[in-house]
Amino acid sequence: MSTEHSKESIQEHIRVYIMVFGALAVLTVITVLASFLNVSTSEAIFLALIIASVKASLVAGYFMHLISEKSIIISILLLTVFFFFVMIFLPLISYTDHANI
């Protein structure tokens, strides 16, 4: 940390944090409002997850500094995310496959 975090860059960071905070607040309101929209369930799910993912990326990218993180950590996380999706979707697919017989 010592090298890349000069005083100025930290000050710059702080500005970014405040902006991200604003964005998160706005997005939260949007999520709630969107849930009152009259859309089909699948559209609602899609919309809600998109917004949540944007928020999550903001937190991970800026608060957790992932956008400037070292490649080892990024690759470990990519691996994890891959298995995360495997774990979520393979049982689901196999559930629907079960129902077919």
């Binding site: 298995f83 495997v86 774990m87 393979l90 049982p91 559930y95 496959d97 079960h98 077919n100 017989i101």
Partner: protein, 573 residues
């Protein structure tokens, strides 16, 4: 290392700090080792009682019969308890802690030239969490409900209704936490604490194996933890995650909200439990690699492809799990997917084994005890692995699923496979750990009978399995007509199992005797090449090495034609 480190502030530790609540990876490794060997012995004893019942159903159990009630015989629910606990203890309290906790802890820092694990306190926490989990697991035998009896797989709905399961779940949460802490530590240690010059491709196979293993543990265990929490909720909070609507238990409608799914548990369980079986085998493969290189006096053939295979194996192990679930009514697409991935995953295993075989060619093979165990590992793992193939093919699994064929398959990989590799490791590194060599004669007296009796137990299981005898039968199949042709084998298997137990006596004697009066071993009794042999035997408390370590060579420089000796220590200039 760093200039302002307080190097000598470890001298005034008292006994408790030094041996009980130590944060030194070597002490923790030994604690893990002793505890897990005792659990191994305990798991063996449970199995001995089961095997007695299988060979002589409903006769009085010799010696320990009084533990099982007035009749002195084993009731079927007791048999189910012993089975579930044998599986659980062997896997989660025996082999994994021994292979990862003990060997990983002790050797990884040494082999990469580090002073300790990256997080010593976390390391101690990991051991104590394991210890508490183990005590809870054992305590379930003394609870009014008794120990868990739904198999180590704990399939709901049975596990929701059967006695003893709550304690099992709580204990598992401790054990999972322990493994998570331990494996995070190992990953960070390997990434961060390698000494200068020790590049990834110079790491010994054992370290690679631990690295991949740790990733499996970190990423596969949490889903089981989640599943355990859900099952605990089902048991104590009356939820119905795993209970569908409309259950009728012994004539009464089960009063829960319903609409849960028993298959959800199976998915989450096997998402862990398949990678878990590679957790059982990878450290063993690593140990065998070390010993083969050392005792053939030549580099491991196909070193790089072995490493790639291990990584690939680890990766693929996450996408094959449902081969344990073929008969749950799986459709065409999923069965095709999972049997294909299962066939794919067998290829890297074949590559690793083939490379080991080819490493023998051109060697100058020494047959000492560690080498004998390591060599025996190869065909034994071969049998186990090969019999995995018909199980992995959905078509043949229809017939073989949940028969003794499966029991035979996996015992060949874990018992004469992994256990032999771990024995080999103990014989091989004992001089490093204690400074004393183990007795060769007793070692061979341990090896040969073990090899024979292991096969005596597990080979007939394939025959029983082909005859269609199911596993987890409290009477060994007496009730079923199709078992009648192969029942006579039970007695033979049981006798072999008891003789196998007796064959361990030389081993225990050997350990104790060598500890006190073994031949002194120097730093490098086997003329080996990896970094741990540059440390004194035993390595210094807390710092391991007595000189600065820099690595100049790849890990198995044996019989290099340019060198004067037949081995080049990695740390030599």
């Amino acid at each position: 290392m760093s200039s302002n480190s307080h190097s000598n502030d470890h001298h005034d530790e008292n006994f408790i700090q030094k041996y009980i609540f130590s944060v030194d990876h070597k002490v923790i490794g030994i604690q893990y080792g002793i505890t897990s060997l005792l659990f191994l012995l305990f798991g063996f004893s449970l199995m001995a009682i089961m095997r007695w019942q299988l060979a002589y159903p409903d006769t009085v159990i010799p010696i320990v019969g009084f533990l099982f009630g007035e009749s002195g015989t084993l009731a079927s629910e007791q048999y189910n308890s012993l089975g579930a606990m044998h599986g659980t203890i062997m896997i989660f309290l025996g082999i994994v802690p021994l292979a990862v906790g003990a060997f990983g802890n002790y050797l990884v820092p040494l082999q990469i030239g580090a002073v300790d694990m990256a997080f010593p306190k976390l390391n101690a926490a990991s051991y104590w969490s394991y210890f508490v989990g183990g005590v809870i697991m054992i305590s379930s035998f003394f609870m009014p409900e008794g120990a868990a009896r739904s198999g180590w797989t704990s399939y709901p709905p049975l596990s929701i209704f059967e006695n003893g399961q709550t304690i099992w779940l709580i204990s598992m949460i401790f054990l999972i936490t322990s493994s998570l802490l331990g494996s995070m530590n190992i990953i960070v240690t390997i990434v961060q604490l390698r000494v200068p010059g020790l590049t990834w491709m110079r790491l010994p196979l054992f370290v690679w194996a631990q690295f991949v293993t740790s990733f499996l543990l970190v990423l596969a265990f949490p889903p089981l933890e989640a599943a355990a929490v859900l099952q605990l909720m089902d048991r104590v909070a009356g939820t119905s995650f795993f209970l569908p609507s409309g259950l009728v238990m012994s004539g009464e409608i089960v009063d829960v909200a319903g609409s849960g799914s028993p298959l959800l548990w199976q998915h989450l369980f096997w998402f862990l439990a398949h990678p878990e079986v590679y957790v059982l085998i990878l450290p063993a493969l690593g140990i065998v690699g070390e010993i083969l290189a050392n005792n053939t006096r030549k580099p491991i053939w196909g070193f790089k492809s072995i490493i790639y295979s291990m990584v690939f194996l680890g990766f693929c192990s996450f996408i094959v799990w449902a081969h344990h679930m073929f008969l749950t009514g799986m459709g065409q697409a999923m069965s095709a997917f999972f049997q294909t991935t299962t066939m794919i995953i067998s290829i890297p295993s074949v590559i690793i084994l083939t490379s080991y075989f080819l490493s023998l060619w051109g060697g100058s093979i020494r047959f000492n005890t560690p080498m004998l165990f390591a060599l025996a590992f190869l065909p034994m793992f071969g049998i186990g692995g090969l019999t995995g193939l018909p199980l992995g093919l959905a078509a043949s699994d229809i017939y073989l699923h949940d028969t003794y064929y499966v029991i035979g398959h996996f015992h060949y990989v874990v018992a004469p496979g992994t256990i032999f590799a771990l024995f080999a490791g103990i014989y091989y590194w004992f001089p490093k750990i204690t400074g004393k060599k183990m007795n060769e004669m007793l070692g061979k007296l341990h090896f040969w009978p073990s090899l024979i009796f292991m096969n005596g137990i597990f080979m007939p299981m394939f025959i029983q399995g082909l005859a269609g005898v199911s596993r987890r039968l409290a009477d060994g199949g007496v009730s079923y007509a199709h078992a009648s042709g192969v029942l006579h084998l039970n007695e033979f298997m049981t006798t072999s199992a008891f003789l196998l137990g007796i064959a361990q006596i030389p081993f225990i004697i050997n350990i104790i005797m060598s500890l006190f009066s073994g031949e002194k071993a120097g730093r490098n009794p086997w003329n080996a090449t990896t970094v741990e042999w540059a440390a004194p035997s035993p390595p210094l408390p807390h710092v391991n090495f007595d000189s600065d370590i820099v690595v100049h060579h790849s890990s198995y420089e044996y019989s290099n034609p340019d060198a004067k000796k037949d081995f080049i220590l990695q740390t030599e200039k």
